[in-house]
């Protein structure tokens, strides 16, 4: 049985009210989203601003209530949980937010931040919490003595490590990572991605990884769901999706990523126009206003998400007669052999420097 089963999730927000409080306009943030997630696996929700990916992640945690649809976690319907059971569920499912500057309380020390969940869920007796905090810091590659410091003393990457340690404190089964690396510099981003993968391998956690960056997603996901305006337009095993994206929107997203290869020759799917608003989504297929393959049927009839035998599902009327995606895929062997060797040498040598490399001297914030 899957750890998490989401079915027909709908969430509309009221965007405008009349004088008497009657709803006049709705933002259709999430409109019929279904997926499931096995224990220990990573599902990536991918899409651009306003596609509903963050709303889905909040619905899954029941931080907001859905208008329709069910979320089943470990076989239990989340809507049936009473306050006590919901609290117990919160121990099983945690979230890491995008902005490590806003998600840590500036008035609490790292030790307090990490022992709060332990106390809330009564996991570790008060006398042993210090020990557990040290363990947690060690887990995310930080020195235990940093527990006495405040968040402002740390850099963005270190704060994100603290946020990860806080999520792990309650030993959850599921962690939602909402753009956990978007606010970080490239070199720090790779540290956090490596850490998340490493922790998953060791602790068999399931992740829902919310991101707009397909390159990051390719690195971490087992399964990918591409969202556009509140709906999933394509979902498949990560390997299958990256080897052969089917929906025109997935292809556009993939081909829009700038590659670090100056001579990379590949066709682009350039989307015209702006992302339509979820306040007034286009009729029929919600992608039809930007789709290069649009036909009349797309304007009137919304396509269903249809899966083939391998579990690769696509919501597109024209999925059968689209050209091959090979032209937009990046060629393999993007790095020169010399560079591959150098990168390998670089990584090998730094590994010897310690697992996560957060040293004593690095605890002081750097001057911007």
């Amino acid at each position: 049985m899957a750890l998490l089963e989401v079915e027909g999730l709908v969430k509309h927000f009221v965007a405008d009210r009349s004088l008497f409080g009657r709803a006049l306009a709705h933002v259709r943030a999430v409109d019929g989203v279904s997926f499931s997630l096995e224990a220990g696996k990573t599902l990536a929700l991918v899409g651009e601003s306003g596609c509903g990916k963050s709303t889905v992640s909040r619905l899954v945690l029941r931080l907001i209530e859905p208008d329709a649809g069910t979320v089943r976690f470990d076989g239990r319907d989340l809507r049936s949980l009473d306050a006590g059971a919901l609290r117990a569920f919160r121990r099983e499912a945690q979230i890491i937010f995008q902005d490590p500057y806003a998600s840590l309380n500036p008035r609490m020390t790292v030790g307090q931040i990490l022992s709060e969940p332990l106390a809330l869920h009564d996991l570790v007796p008060a006398g042993r919490r210090g020990e557990r905090v040290a363990e947690l810091l060690h887990l995310v590659g930080m020195e235990p003595r940093l527990a006495r410091r405040y968040p402002h003393e740390f850099s963005g990457g270190q704060r994100q490590r603290i946020a990860i340690a806080r999520a792990f404190a309650v030993e959850p089964k599921l962690i939602i990572c909402d753009e956990p690396v978007s606010a970080l510099d490239v070199s720090i981003r790779s540290q956090i991605l490596n850490l998340l993968r490493d922790l998953q391998d060791r602790l068999a956690l399931a992740y829902i990884f919310v991101s707009h960056d397909l390159a990051v997603v390719k690195h971490i996901a087992d399964r990918v769901a591409v969202m556009n305006l509140g709906q999933i337009v394509e979902t498949a095993a990560a390997d299958a999706l990256f080897a052969g994206p089917r929906h025109p929107y997935s292809r556009a997203l993939l081909s829009a990523i700038p590659l670090p290869q100056p001579r990379a020759r590949r066709a682009r799917v350039m989307l015209e126009g702006e992302i339509p608003s979820a306040l007034n989504p286009p009729s029929g297929c919600r992608f039809h206003t930007r789709c290069p393959f649009v036909i009349d049927r797309c304007r009137n009839e919304a396509p269903g998400l249809v899966a083939d035998g391998t579990g690769h599902a696509t919501a597109c009327h024209r999925v059968g007669d689209l050209p091959s995606a090979d032209a937009i895929l990046p060629a393999a062997a993007g790095f020169s052999p010399a560079l591959e060797k150098l990168v390998a040498a670089f990584s090998r040598k730094t590994e010897g420097a310690g697992p996560a490399g957060v040293g004593i001297q690095s605890a002081t914030p750097t001057t911007p």
Binding site: A215, I257, P260, E274, G334, V343, A345, R348, G354
Partner: protein, 329 residues
């Protein structure tokens, strides 16, 4: 006009004097040049000094706290010695800049038309009517649909991608010779980023302006730049034509940056990471500033600051162990 580069920066140093007497070395001995029609990518992570360098070119650093030495030559004129009045005539005219945040760089209480027309009238004069005509033309050039109607809209009515187009239209209003774009696509979604990058390529081909593109995204650099300068801790650590930089980087920091990008063409088990942190720029280290994080470090690296030397023709590196191929063969 002279045959030399359009912009030539020599030994630029910028220090910030804080209220508490602390001095931060934001930029140290930066040498750069950009030719007419060329695009230079200035790459580095937060705090490496890339934005400060661009603000110095524009003359936008606060006079009270920033101490700037060296020379910034623009078309034969030393911008650091130029009086404010002349600088004001240059900015928005022959020098233009696009910022990262299109949400905050437009004035919310004027229509986008007013803001573009103001620039045109300030530098070019002429009638309000002809300026309006030109503003509409500019909006059309940056692919804003129905510009005749859009010109009278306020910024809040436009999406992020549209606002960035308006910013670009405004920067192009007086056909600048130099355009500085500071992370122009960072705040945008990927499909919009692709549109804006395409637009920049188009404009570069059409106008022949020199562009300095500041970014942390090496993918963006590979797509639009001719030459790249990598900055680390206030210094340029590597400078090369773009193909060279991506095929045979000569500074370990660049290698680390390239290795830490998640790639679409293959899935690495582990991404490269650059361990440790950037040095505290109130007291920069004596030797190589990257030494503490460098896997190829030797004793000699920490004793004296390494010079920026030519490793292969046109390819400069601030690493005494370059050429790096030697280390892996």
């Amino acid at each position: 006009m002279s045959a030399g580069p359009l912009v030539e920066i020599r030994d630029l140093r910028i220090r910030f004097h804080g209220d508490d007497g602390r001095v931060t070395h934001a930029v140290d001995s930066v040498d750069l040049s950009v030719a007419n029609g060329a695009t230079l990518g200035l790459v580095g992570e937060s705090g490496c000094g890339k934005s400060v360098t661009s603000l110095a070119i524009m003359g936008l650093l606060p006079k009270q706290s920033a101490e700037i030495t060296g020379a910034i030559r623009f078309d034969g004129l030393d911008l650091l010695q130029t009086p404010d009045q002349t600088l004001r005539d240059l900015r928005g005219n022959r020098l233009a800049m696009i910022f990262q945040e299109p949400m905050t760089s437009l004035n919310p209480s004027f229509t986008i038309g007013d803001q573009i027309i103001e620039t045109i009238l300030r530098h070019r004069g002429g009638s309000a009517r002809s300026a309006r005509g030109r503003a509409i033309e500019l909006l059309r050039r940056v692919h804003i649909p129905s510009p005749e109607r859009r010109i009278d809209e306020y910024p809040h009515k436009l999406s992020g991608g549209m606002r960035q187009r308006v910013m670009i239209a405004m920067a192009l209003a007086c056909d600048p010779q130099l355009l500085i774009a500071d992370e122009p696509t960072t705040a945008l979604d990927v499909t919009l980023q692709a549109q804006i990058l395409e637009l920049m390529r188009e404009l570069k081909a059409a106008s022949g302006a020199a562009i300095i593109l500041i970014t942390h995204d090496l993918g963006v650099v590979a797509e639009v730049c001719d030459e790249v300068a990598v900055m680390y801790a206030g210094e340029i650590v590597e400078r090369a034509p773009v193909d060279e930089m991506f095929s045979a980087p000569q500074h370990p920091y660049t290698v680390g940056l390239l290795g830490s990008i998640p790639r679409l063409d293959h899935r690495a088990e582990q991404l490269a990471t650059i361990e440790g942190m950037v040095p505290n720029m109130a007291q920069p280290p004596a030797g190589c500033r990257f030494a503490a994080r460098c896997p190829f470090v030797q004793d000699a690296c920490t004793s004296a600051p390494p010079p920026l030397v030519e490793v292969t023709p046109g390819h400069l590196s601030r690493c005494i162990r370059a050429p790096l191929e030697r280390l892996v063969s």
